[in-house]
Symmetry: C2
Subunit: 214 residues, 2 copies
Amino acid sequence: MNPSISPSPLPRRRGRPPRQGSGQSETREILLQAGVEILAEKGFSATGIDEILRRVGVPKGSFYHFFASKEAFGVALVRRYGELLSHKLERNLGNEALPPLERLRGFVAESRARMALHGFRRGCLVGNLGQETGCLPGSFRQLLAQVFADWQGQVAACLEAARERGELAAGADCQRLAACFWIGWEGAVLRAKLEASPEPLDIFAEFFFAGLPR
Amino acid sequence: MNPSISPSPLPRRRGRPPRQGSGQSETREILLQAGVEILAEKGFSATGIDEILRRVGVPKGSFYHFFASKEAFGVALVRRYGELLSHKLERNLGNEALPPLERLRGFVAESRARMALHGFRRGCLVGNLGQETGCLPGSFRQLLAQVFADWQGQVAACLEAARERGELAAGADCQRLAACFWIGWEGAVLRAKLEASPEPLDIFAEFFFAGLPR
DNA sequence: AATTTTCTAGACAAGTGGTCTAATTACATC
DNA sequence: GATGTAATTAGACCACTTGTCTAGAAAATT
């Protein structure tokens, strides 16, 4: 059912833990990871703290040791997810071995494969929480918009590169096109989740690339 | 704050009500309407029955008289919303006074205006619930997909009409283009809600119409 | 060894969710 | 008009959630 996180086989001893090399707590990391997975599936409001804790076998005391509240946890998750995806973008869009537009296609393909791997149950955490804006603590709105803006900037840079190489029309508004990419891609992810199928992703990607001004 | 529904000024007596002319219950109708509004803002999981009931001044007992469960209520809301939007589509896309593509633009403009009217707090109920698929009772998935399919069919028919008039390339795959419209439009609505701005709607609409094969 | 720091354990209170039974009123029937 | 039935409301009820809080255990520090 859920391949990535299993109810902590770690012994999980009480008391102060031996100092980890890295300095960051193992438990905190586990919570963040599980949180990202579950929230990408179910969103913020529908997910209970207990559910996450049961899943990874961490007691409540630990949770509230590491995070001040559910809201603070949510904020941490959005940041984390934002970074994860940003790295993924960087990895693809920074691949100079390919022409710029092919890099973006690479990102699309990788994301598609990842959704398929998880049976199309998992969507985009930021998209999910964006949908919930109406009932989320105020701190989220700006944060989510910021994350989108970052991603959009990365795509815009890639499109710029394409334009410089003549793969796009000289007059192309790359920021606007990047915005369009994320608007549509999020819609496609949502729909792919609903229909448990990659088709929406393919349909949008094809339309997007075909519609770019040459 | 909320212009459309005010805490029932009706006396609301207990016991069997005097027979209404129309046959359908007034209370049930009020619940459906308020439900559509709130769920379009906050989604299913994050909305409590109590919240809806407080807002319209209906007691809990009434709710469970008219609806077997929250799930059944949700299903009724999806159907209702599906019909509302279907009528809106029909009204716009059936307007033979305009060329087909202009009709679709009309729908876009009307929807945009409506979102603005509600301060971009209200999104698409079906989109919202689609996002929540992961934590919704199973009955929703198919229903939501069905509603999308209906809307998509209406848009596809409009695009067909455009093709027949030569406004679209003869080889255009109208079903696929209609799918693309809804994929992107839902993404745009989501983003417009998040940023409390019409820009995402405009960006996507421009790209979509510009990208249609001529 | 004593103390401090870091984390775990899980009980607990307040509040919310959804459901259900009993009470209340109108209508129908005789 | 008395009795029975259908339609609706009132609010009790229980299970569950969130966040807090105290006690406890083990490493680190002195």
